[in-house]
Amino acid sequence: MTEGRTRAALGLALAACLVTSADAQGTTEVASSPAVSLPLPEEVRLEDLPNDNGTGLVLFWSRDPQAPPSMVYRAEVGLAPEGPFYPAGVVPASAPLASEAPKVFGIWRNYGDRQYLIVTSYMVPPDTVGGAPRTVMLEPGKRYYVRFSVADGGVQATLANVLVGEPKQNLFNWSKLNNLAFGVFFGAVILFFIWLARRNPNLYIRKIAGLDAVEESLGRATEMGKPVYFIHGLDGMSSVSTIASVNILRPIARRTAQYDTELKVMNMDPIVQAVSQEVVREGCIDVGRPDAYNEEDVMFVADRQFSYAAAVDGLMVRETPATVILMGYFYAESLLFTETGNQIGAIQIAGTDAYTQLPFFITTCDYTLMGEELYAASAYLSREPKLLGSLRGQDVGKLLILGVLTIGTVLELIGVHWLSRLVMPL
């Protein structure tokens, strides 16, 4: 790492560049007119790029407020101090400051008014005529020599000293520390409330309109002697909304077994089907009705979106279920289900965290659970401590976020930025 030069040395370096420049057009004449001075930054440092896998170096220099907008800063990389040097990056004079890139540099170090140029590769000319230049990535632990220059149009000034640096692999990404802290805090809160819920299962959940209607709709199906349809949605078992819908299926299976009502579960994923079969079977066993379980009623319909929609719509029109419950993540087929359900006169209760499908459900279903209410529904119906506890923990997390949003907005408005800098890389 080296320091910058004085303006006298700058003039000499500039003259040297001009004399050796192969292209005389556009360059300032050397002797007859005053030399055009391009300001080299006061302090140029080359450091290892933090928080990376050893493939980056970064140049820092103090910002020059007088720099013309057309000016650019260039970096060239070589494997030896005498070169050859290859183009490695260029940024304009208006490039952002390092302090404005907390996702790269974190928030703990004070970079002041330093600008930066990240070097992760350099371009090697083609081996053959007409070939394409090659990009070569920097490698960890290898020594690189970097030449820093300033250019404006055809004029260029290069730092006389070549900078030396070695990219290093980092074990921890410090710019994500606040992310980790929030994650650990939130996780601890969730686990704490689950533990608490196991000791006190009577945690309060506010009334969710639509969930009380589940009981009523199951009763309606029983009276009419028609089946209840439970439609999962398109995502697989790894999706949070599918896990929530399976948790809702369990108490519904219990109820329908108790009332001796036919429950048909439509699945688009074979793994979800396998899980649903287990859940429905255990729901029937829980209420002492193992005979109520019919494996064929928990069916795999099709694994393509519109084949699934066409098949379920066909079944709905033929069997005219009294109640249709749609829980999970839906896509464009949502309206196909609900309009058909409306056509056959079924009560429809939907729950989804698919934001784009909410308007369709709201306009066509009798009750709709929006977003997080889907997750709350499983806790509400089953009253399982793990679900109640994590719901309470989520509420605490939301309170924290709301607090940060409110306080952060006020602070930003009065010109205090530390809070937004703290959470920005999140």
Partner: protein, 294 residues
């Protein structure tokens, strides 16, 4: 009569849509298609790299034939824009149905412009995994895609030779009919591998994308058939999306007219109900007074 008008049979609504869309297709009228800022951002993102040597664009076909009318025109025009400006373009699919669509898009434009597969473009095909595929590509592109869809090694083709990871692409455009943008590309590719990402989505999904546009994780967005038509206009190659604007406009107008009609009938029926309720109350009062007087 009001009740019947209030609850028009849905088949009449369907018929009105058929007539409106059919008439618009048979007798199209020229309509203005001003490009929106987000569509222009995608166009400019591709345009900005045309002077860069070895510029490379990745197109991901994450949609199925149902979304073909909305997204395929965007794919075709972006490929055309790239090929006309000597930008190398690589295609892939995160959905299996995207393979046929991707191939068709590349075949048609490459044939039209005389571009050579392997040198100017290639199509990688589909691999399962979605998130894990992206992570794989982010760390080691050639291990994720050792060969392309046609069986040629990616290490040997000029178009992919110097691509070692996902971040080597100058611009990535994902054409999505599902949640691959927010759940996969933004979350993993943009966050971890710092790619420059643009999106083309079906109209119903565009509300989902605005947070990513505002945060800069998406540089631009082409939304639905209208967005595709705007891109055709920017690329000066009117096609199926532009032709689709007239029927789409007709359908929207019909829907709004029906909504308006339904609301007018609703207000009339409500007034009549209130008038009927008032009249019943007056009669009851009159009977009560008459009984009390007698």
């Amino acid at each position: 009569m009001t009740d019947r008008l209030l609850n028009v049979d849905r088949r009449i609504v369907f018929l009105a849509i058929v007539v409106a869309v059919g008439a618009a297709m048979l007798w199209p009228v020229p309509l203005p298609i001003p490009p929106s800022p987000y569509v222009m951002d995608v166009y400019r993102a591709v345009d900005a790299i045309k002077s860069k040597p070895n510029a490379k664009v990745l197109l991901s076909f994450d949609f199925d034939p149902a979304s073909d009318p909305e997204l395929q025109p965007v794919a075709i025009n972006v490929i055309r824009q790239c090929m006309q400006n000597n930008i190398r373009v690589v295609g892939m699919a995160l959905w299996p149905e995207g393979v046929g669509l991707g191939r068709a898009a590349f075949d048609s434009v490459a044939h039209e412009l005389g571009k050579e597969r392997g040198k100017h473009w290639t199509f990688l095909g589909y691999k399962p995994g979605i998130v894990t595929l992206i992570l794989n590509m982010g760390e080691n592109f050639k291990s994720a895609w050792p060969i392309d869809y046609f069986g040629t090694s990616t290490a040997l083709m000029p178009v992919t030779q110097d691509i070692s990871r996902l971040g080597d692409f100058d611009f990535v455009l994902t054409l999505a009919a599902g949640n691959t943008i927010d759940a996969v590309w933004v979350t993993y590719a943009v966050d971890r591998y710092k790619i420059k990402l643009g999106g083309a989505v079906t109209a119903v999904m565009s509300p989902d994308m605005f947070p990513y546009l505002q945060s800069g994780q998406l540089v631009g967005l082409v939304s639905g058939l209208a967005g595709a038509a705007e891109y055709e206009k920017l690329e000066k190659s009117p096609g199926s999306a532009t032709r689709g604007m007239v029927p789409q406009s007709a359908a929207h107008v019909v829907i709004i007219l029906f909504i308006g009609f339904g609301n007018i009938m609703y207000l009339i029926s409500r007034r009549r109900e209130r008038a009927g309720e008032l009249s019943r109350l007056r009669k009851r009062d009159a009977v009560a007074k008459g009984g009390a007087g007698g």
